[in-house]
Each structure stands twice: as structure tokens, then as C-alpha cells.
């Protein structure tokens, strides 16, 4: 399968990547291809390696083996600080904001200069301000901009984290359980954000346990089990397979 890749279709691929924690194989020889400008969903039971996969793709964990292919370049090592260069950004399963700084700075910090010495000389730029304002308004956090991130509610934190990812102008967005623990109104908000991003030709990968949302949003589905690929394909078709039902959905 991986030999017939069309680079216009696949934005991110893994080829036989592995990751073990001690004796536990979290990801075992996993090969997947993620479609460009589509919403891809990853489902699987707890401990099936979904978060580990996202951590590997964003460079938070080192690969034990295999390669990650981005922009037709195969990488044996993915460094976290290079992930935006590879066109990747992400959110975390447990919200990881910069707690003791303001909501405003949480967004600003991902917009500004990366190199050390230019950053030392850079004052707040008008175009960064405009961008931060746009992001904060689109996630409904503009009124809260002066609050410290740690003083927000769980749902607001979740939204702010998604906003922080949106502030990155990249191709691939990895959302680790963006819908977990949200009440219905915010759920709708996140859904519409994801749909809007698809409209804007971004590629989205998200992890979720909510089958209704998976059915509604995703174009493509991967089912992981024990770090290996159980099934892949179009949503309804995959969810109808008996192996998937047995492993994950029960009855």
C-alpha cells in the first residue's frame, strides 16, 4: 500500500512505526496514511495507542523504529521543535495551557518570532495583535483575554487550547480528544470550528470516543487496538465491521 502513495492525497504517513514502554508495545509496526484536507478520526479502546501515536507524530516521544513521512520526506527522528516546520501542530488530551500567564499571552506566544536573538528585540507587533484578537474571538474567549489561563473553566481551557493550535498556520492539526468533558453548547462550538477548518483546506486528525461525533465529522477512520491497525476506511463501513464491533463498540 505504501508503495503507491500519491503525495497530493496523503499529507502525513507512518511506515511501520513502533514505540514501547518497557515490555508494553504501545505502537506496534503501525502504518497509516492521513488524507490531505480531510478530517481523519482515530478511535480505539483505552490504551490502544492513540495518544502515543499523536505524541510520536508531534515529536513529544522519540520513535523506537519506523519512519514518519511528511512532505515526501521520511523522518526517522521527529523533534518537537521542528513539528511546525513539518506542518504539524496539536492539542493535548489533558489540557496543557501556560497556566500562570494571561489568555492573551497564551495565544500571542505561538505567533511571535522563534529565533532567540530576533525574539529578544521583537516588541508586540500589530499583525500579531490582529491575529490574536481574531483567534480569541473565534473561540469566544475575547472577553476573557486578561484572565489567567488557570482561572478558566475546563471547557474554556479546552477551547483556548484549540484556539492556540488554530493560531499556528500549518497544514495538519492533531486534536487529542477535543470533545472530552464538554457540555453540549461547547461541543457544537468545537464541531463547527473543526468543520470550518476543513473548509479552509486544513487536514485534521482527531481522537474521540463519542461515536455520534465520529460519524458526523470524520471522512476517514482508523481503529487502533493494542497499538496496531484494526481497521481503516470510510466511517460507516468501518464501524459496521464485526472485528471493530467486537474490539471496541461491544454490542
Amino acid at each position: 500500500m505504501s508503495t503507491e502513495v500519491d503525495p497530493r492525497v496523503y499529507v502525513l504517513e507512518t511506515r511501520e512505526i513502533s514505540k514501547s514502554f518497557g515490555a508494553v508495545k504501545a505502537i506496534d509496526q503501525l502504518t497509516i496514511s492521513i488524507l490531505r484536507e480531510w478530517i481523519t478520526c482515530i478511535v480505539g479502546p483505552n490504551g490502544s495507542g492513540k495518544s502515543t501515536l499523536i505524541n510520536l507524530l508531534s515529536g513529544l516521544l522519540p520513535l523506537d523504529g519506523g519512519i514518519v513521512v511528511v512532505d515526501n520526506v521520511g523522518l526517522r527522528v521527529v523533534k518537537a521543535h521542528d513539528s511546525p516546520d513539518h506542518g504539524i501542530t496539536r492539542t493535548f488530551q489533558e489540557v496543557r495551557l501556560f497556566d500562570q500567564i494571561s489568555v492573551w499571552d497564551n495565544i500571542m506566544v505561538v505567533l511571535t518570532e522563534r529565533r532567540v536573538f530576533p525574539a529578544l528585540l521583537e516588541r508586540t507587533k500589530p499583525n500579531h495583535k490582529v491575529e490574536a484578537e481574531r483567534i480569541l474571538k473565534s473561540v469566544g474567549m475575547w472577553e476573557k483575554r486578561d484572565a489567567m489561563a488557570q482561572d478558566l473553566s475546563y471547557g474554556q481551557r479546552k477551547l483556548l487550547e484549540i484556539g492556540r493550535a488554530m493560531a499556528m498556520d500549518v497544514q495538519i492539526y492533531l486534536f487529542d480528544e477535543p470533545f472530552a468533558g464538554l457540555f453540549p453548547r461547547m461541543l457544537e462550538q468545537v464541531k463547527s470550528i473543526l468543520k470550518e477548518m476543513r473548509e479552509q483546506k486544513r487536514s485534521i486528525v482527531f481522537v474521540s470516543h463519542n461515536m455520534d461525533i465520529v460519524r458526523e465529522l470524520s471522512d476517514h477512520l482508523f481503529v487502533l487496538d493494542s497499538g496496531a491497525l484494526l481497521a481503516a476506511g470510510e466511517v460507516e463501513e468501518v464501524l459496521g465491521r464485526s472485528a471493530v464491533i467486537d474490539a471496541y463498540l461491544g454490542n
Binding site: 513529544l60 518537537a80 495551557l97 501556560f98 500567564i101 506566544v109 516588541r123
Partner: protein, 351 residues
């Protein structure tokens, strides 16, 4: 400037309607901390007179530079270093060795090389030397964080102190170095204490300005993000090791500057000024004043110096206990602070 305008507006408000001001300000710990420390310093200086004020001002300026430099690392970047006194010492010894003109033939100790440089020639060397050592140490430290960082920086402080004490050919060990030069610009020599205080305040102003520019830049914002979650900010494309190294070196250079100023101000240094305890006191000062706040470091340094110099005049204390009691009081203050106000007097960040 905002502090000055704020103070003026505050005074106007009090004059207009004292009662409503009192109602609103009763619970404002930050305001009271400011008023108490500044008022205490002012009253004490007026009471003890000019000479005392000049001494306190000079000690304050040196500690304030040191406190601000450490706050950049601890408060803004979240690297709890207890080794900063080492850079302070490197700056001080560089200044002392380069400018001392003492003739040691008359003393019964080994002679050390004397260079007799002028102050302003030795100052940049002291600063750069502290920065270079910090660069090497920082590259080694970059892999550590949190509690391990405390331990390795502790190790650095011990190594630095031992070096000052044992490298007798250069530092004269426990005998210390005499006759460190006072600064001179052409015919103008900063012999008098008042002139020296003015010079110290100029340097303090520079350090405050540079630090303010750093923490309000994009770079400064990244530092706070590193403090909050280093892994997370790395995912957004920042090489955090470079950032940590940069602020570490800048901070060490400021500490080196403070050390060089101390050596010249007191004209004599020995290793006792650079023991680990001083480093712990320094960390206490910035926690007391407030982490991630430049004003907090100024306030903390002032409170500490007032405690140190002021205790001397408490009438019922036997003079031999003053040093220890000072530390006891500082310790009690810290415990109370951590219990009731973990962000320090005017801080923005809880450890």
C-alpha cells in the same frame, strides 16, 4: 513612569476621599507591602541620617541587581537556581584580581599577580567572564529541570566557593584581596560613598531597564511559557534549550556585574561573601519580593537590606546574635509568606 503617575494618582485619591480609599484598599496586600517596606526604609534613613542612608542604598543597589538577575532565571523562566552566588563571586574576583594594587610583600602570605587595571577596564572583563562560565555551565545544565536543577546549581555554588577558597595563587584564599580599585573617569574618582552610590544606582537603573526590555519582549513571553510547560511550548516550534541558555547567560552577566561592583565598593573581598548561604538568602529575597516581577525584586532587596542593617539598632538585642536573628526572622517571614501569600509581596507567579 507608571509607578510615579500611579503614586501621584493614589495620593490625590487619598486626599479627596480618605474613607472610601480606606475601604477599598484595606485588603490590598500589594499596596500595603509597598507602603510598609518603602515607609520603613524612609523612616529609618531619616532617623539614622545620611551616612546610614548611603550605606544602605549601596548595599541595596548591589543586592537589587543580583535579585533581578536571579528573578529572570527563577521567576520568569522557572529554573530554580541556587548557584547564582557563583557568578556573583566570579565577577567580584575578576574585578579584584585585575584591579588590586596591593603590595603583598609586606604580608606574610603568598604573593598573587597584581595587574592594577582601572575599574572601567576590568568591569567588562568581569561581566564577560561570568557570562562565559555561565555558557559552559548552562550547556551542561540544560538537560536538567525542576528539583534536579536545584541540586546541580547547588553543586555549582559549592564548586565556585571551593575554587575561590583554594586557588590561592590567584585569590589568596581565605586572606582575601585588598585594595580593589575604585572607579575613575579621567580626573573624577569615585572615592566618596555618595558618588559611588550614584554610580551604583546608574548601573541598577541600567539593569532594570534591560530586564524590563527582556521580559516585555517576545523572548520574555516565551520564557514564561517555558516556566509553565516546557514540552508544550517546544511543540510550537521553540528550541527551549536555546532560550534557557540565553537568559541564563544574560542573568549571570548581571550577577557578575553586581559582584564587580561589590568588590570595588568594599575594596576588599574574601570567599565568605560567596558562601552557599548567601545564595539561599538571595533566593529568599526574590520569593519574598515576588517572582516574575522586577519591582518585586527591588522591594525584596530593600526589605532584606533594611532587615540586615536595621536589626543592628534594635536596642535589647545582644550584638553577637544579630546575624543569626536576622536569618531567623527572614526564615519566619518566608514560612509565613508561603502559607498566606505564596506569590510573594508583589509577585505574579506561585512557585
Amino acid at each position: 513612569m507608571s509607578i510615579a503617575t500611579g503614586a501621584i494618582r493614589g495620593v490625590q485619591e487619598v486626599a479627596r476621599d480618605p474613607r472610601s480609599w480606606w475601604r477599598r484598599s484595606k485588603g490590598n496586600v500589594e499596596l500595603w507591602a509597598n507602603l510598609i517596606v518603602l515607609g520603613w526604609a524612609l523612616v529609618f534613613m531619616l532617623w539614622r541620617g545620611g551616612g546610614f542612608a548611603i550605606t544602605v542604598g549601596s548595599v541595596f543597589a548591589i543586592w537589587a541587581i543580583l535579585a533581578i538577575s536571579l528573578n529572570l532565571v527563577v521567576g520568569y523562566t522557572g529554573l530554580l537556581s541556587v548557584g547564582h552566588i557563583g557568578f556573583f563571586g566570579i565577577g567580584a574576583y575578576a574585578m579584584a584580581v585585575l584591579t588590586s594594587s596591593a603590595s603583598y610583600e609586606q604580608l606574610r602570605t603568598e604573593a598573587i599577580p597584581t595587574f592594577g587595571w582601572p575599574f572601567f577596564a576590568a568591569l567588562p572583563i568581569s561581566v564577560v567572564l561570568a557570562g562565559l562560565v555561565a555558557l559552559v555551565v548552562g550547556i551542561a545544565f540544560n538537560r536538567f529541570r525542576d528539583d534536579i536543577y536545584v541540586l546541580v546549581s547547588f553543586g555549582f555554588a559549592v564548586i565556585a566557593f571551593t575554587t575561590f577558597l583554594s586557588w590561592r595563587n590567584l585569590t589568596r584564599g581565605a586572606f582575601g584581596i585588598h585594595e580593589v580599585a575604585r572607579p575613575a573617569i579621567g580626573p573624577l574618582v569615585f572615592e566618596g560613598e555618595l558618588e559611588f552610590l550614584a554610580l551604583l544606582l546608574v548601573f541598577l537603573g541600567l539593569v532594570v531597564l534591560i530586564s524590563w526590555l527582556i521580559v516585555t519582549s517576545s523572548f520574555g513571553r516565551v520564557l514564561t511559557a517555558i516556566r509553565e510547560d516546557e514540552e508544550a511550548i517546544e511543540v510550537f516550534g521553540y528550541r527551549t534549550t536555546h532560550y534557557k541558555l540565553a537568559i541564563w547567560v544574560i542573568s549571570a552577566m548581571m550577577a557578575g556585574l553586581a559582584g564587580a561592583l561589590l568588590a570595588s565598593w568594599s575594596t576588599f573581598i574574601d570567599p565568605n561573601s560567596f558562601v552557599l548561604l548567601e545564595s539561599i538568602l538571595l533566593v529568599s529575597i526574590i520569593i519574598l519580593g515576588g517572582l516574575a516581577s522586577i519591582w518585586g525584586s527591588l522591594l525584596g532587596a530593600l526589605a532584606f537590606v533594611m532587615l540586615e542593617e536595621g536589626m543592628r539598632f534594635v536596642p535589647f538585642l545582644p550584638s553577637e546574635f544579630i546575624g543569626q536573628i536576622r536569618q531567623v526572622i527572614l526564615g519566619i517571614l518566608l514560612v509565613l509568606l508561603m502559607l498566606f501569600r505564596p506569590q510573594g509581596l508583589v509577585g505574579r507567579f506561585k512557585l
